[in-house]
Symmetry: C2
Subunit: 253 residues, 2 copies
DNA sequence: AAACCCATTTGATACAAGTCATTTTGAGCA
DNA sequence: TGCTCAAAATGACTTGTATCAAATGGGTTT
């Protein structure tokens, strides 16, 4: 493990329940992600009620599914540790990676419109997640307007972030797309109290390419070019952002 | 006006309130779109309560805004007649058309996450819309679980349709993108009881190109090619689908 | 430590779509 | 009837990214 590793790997041998993010018994109240996750809009006693419906399972191994396409839809999920990717498969079997989710982020909301999932979610590395049964969430929302509102907002945010991706795919070059993704990961790491400068990408080059509408080769070439231009230091999945400003200018072109 | 005109132009001189889709005083109960729109999931008396909060304005002229970027968010909207396009503008001023909305369809949901709109909506032709104040809708949802559920579903559908567009932009060629859009418009017209074979595109070639991540020239060339190959008859915005099957095969490639 | 696997990188070439320039078409209007 | 203007179509040329092919390198198994 390098110095840029995920926090989830640092406290593995701790005996304190609260300190271990893979621990299944931690409550929403004590979860270190609660400032990023569903509880953010809630009062203390409301968090307690939310906590009661949240189900926490054992950690997921890399490449194992949270849910698969055509599974019955029953819940939405929050990442507690590790990272998740979601993807859809169209009629012709073409896979589209639709999102990368880091601790504190919610996924699985596309299933709400249907009785069954139209996408799949898999762990990109060892991960633990919270499952929030949707029918219970609906009931709770009715007695807790702030939760209903927050959940509306979450879905709306998903819509606007999808639309940003649409613009990225529709209007930007390969370099601009990669720069934008790197800055997004960087910012989300920073939000979680980690470094936005040095971090480990949880996903493969193939995943990045699929997500950004590029081939693996193009993604690899862009990384090499960025390194050559002194914007990044790249060592496989370890990234060090050297020239944030230049990267931002690229992303904003 | 040709034979392929919108129904909104056919009944203009009718004296019956119910028959004129531009008429502002029509209720949800009587609206011919209610089987496609919000009331679909509701009981009769629930539709009445929804009807009470819906505000109907005078018809909008072509190119006039329903809302503009940075306008305060206060409502979501349903198209009653005509057609609406939505677009966003990023920091660099790049415009991305994010959707085309036909009668019975709901738009404006991306504003929920923010206090102000992050996109704009304009009429592509004379249109009338229903405004549904969001705070009233939230209140109503709390006492009407079927409405809450339906609205969750609507937002989730918006997410999945955005993700389909992401796949289209990320994985498909110019011809495949155009074919897919044409079939989408066709299917939505058919759903509204109009012809899925002969119809008028409400949007310009530039709008189509912007939406699909293509230049105007490419869109124009694809239309010409489709015509030459006997898939379509194109006369400016009037479209006749000649070979639906071939078009579907293209879209599903 | 050899053998293998798989992700990643790098290079050479092809092609789909973009860019730039020009023409055609049609609608609105004097 | 002809003028103006914008949308759309067409043609010639360029280019960014895909494709195909091969090399590199790290990790795991035997």
């Amino acid at each position: 493990m390098t110095a840029i590793s995920e926090p989830s790997d640092l406290s593995r041998n701790s005996t304190m329940t609260v300190a271990c993010p893979h621990n299944a018994s931690i409550s929403c109240t004590d979860c270190r992600m609660n400032s990023l996750c569903l509880p953010i809009a809630l009062e203390y006693d409301e968090v307690e009620r939310l906590n009661e419906i949240v189900q926490r399972g054992r950690p997921l191994q890399k490449d194992s599914h949270v849910y698969d396409i055509a599974d019955e839809f029953s819940a939405v999920y929050a990442v507690r540790s590790g990272s998740i990717k979601t993807y859809s498969v169209n009629e012709q079997g073409v896979i589209q990676v639709t999102g990368f989710y880091l601790p504190g982020e919610i996924f699985g909301m596309d299933g709400i419109a249907h009785t069954h999932h139209v996408s799949a979610a898999v762990a990109m590395e060892t991960a633990s997640i919270c499952e929030i049964p949707f029918s219970r969430l609906e009931e709770l929302s009715i007695t807790m307007p702030s939760l209903q509102r927050h959940f509306f907002k979450l879905m709306s945010k998903e819509i606007t972030s999808d639309q940003q991706l649409i613009t990225l795919l529709s209007k930007n070059s390969a370099e601009e797309r990669v720069a934008t993704l790197l800055l997004s990961i960087s910012a989300r790491n920073a939000k979680r109290g980690l470094s936005g400068i040095r971090f480990r990408l949880p996903m493969s080059r193939a995943d990045i390419g699929n997500y950004l509408g590029l081939t693996v080769e193009t993604v690899s070439r862009v990384f090499s070019r960025f390194q050559k231009q002194g914007l990044l230091n790249v060592d496989k999945k370890e990234i060090e952002v050297v020239d944030t400003l230049a990267l931002q200018e690229l992303a904003n072109t």
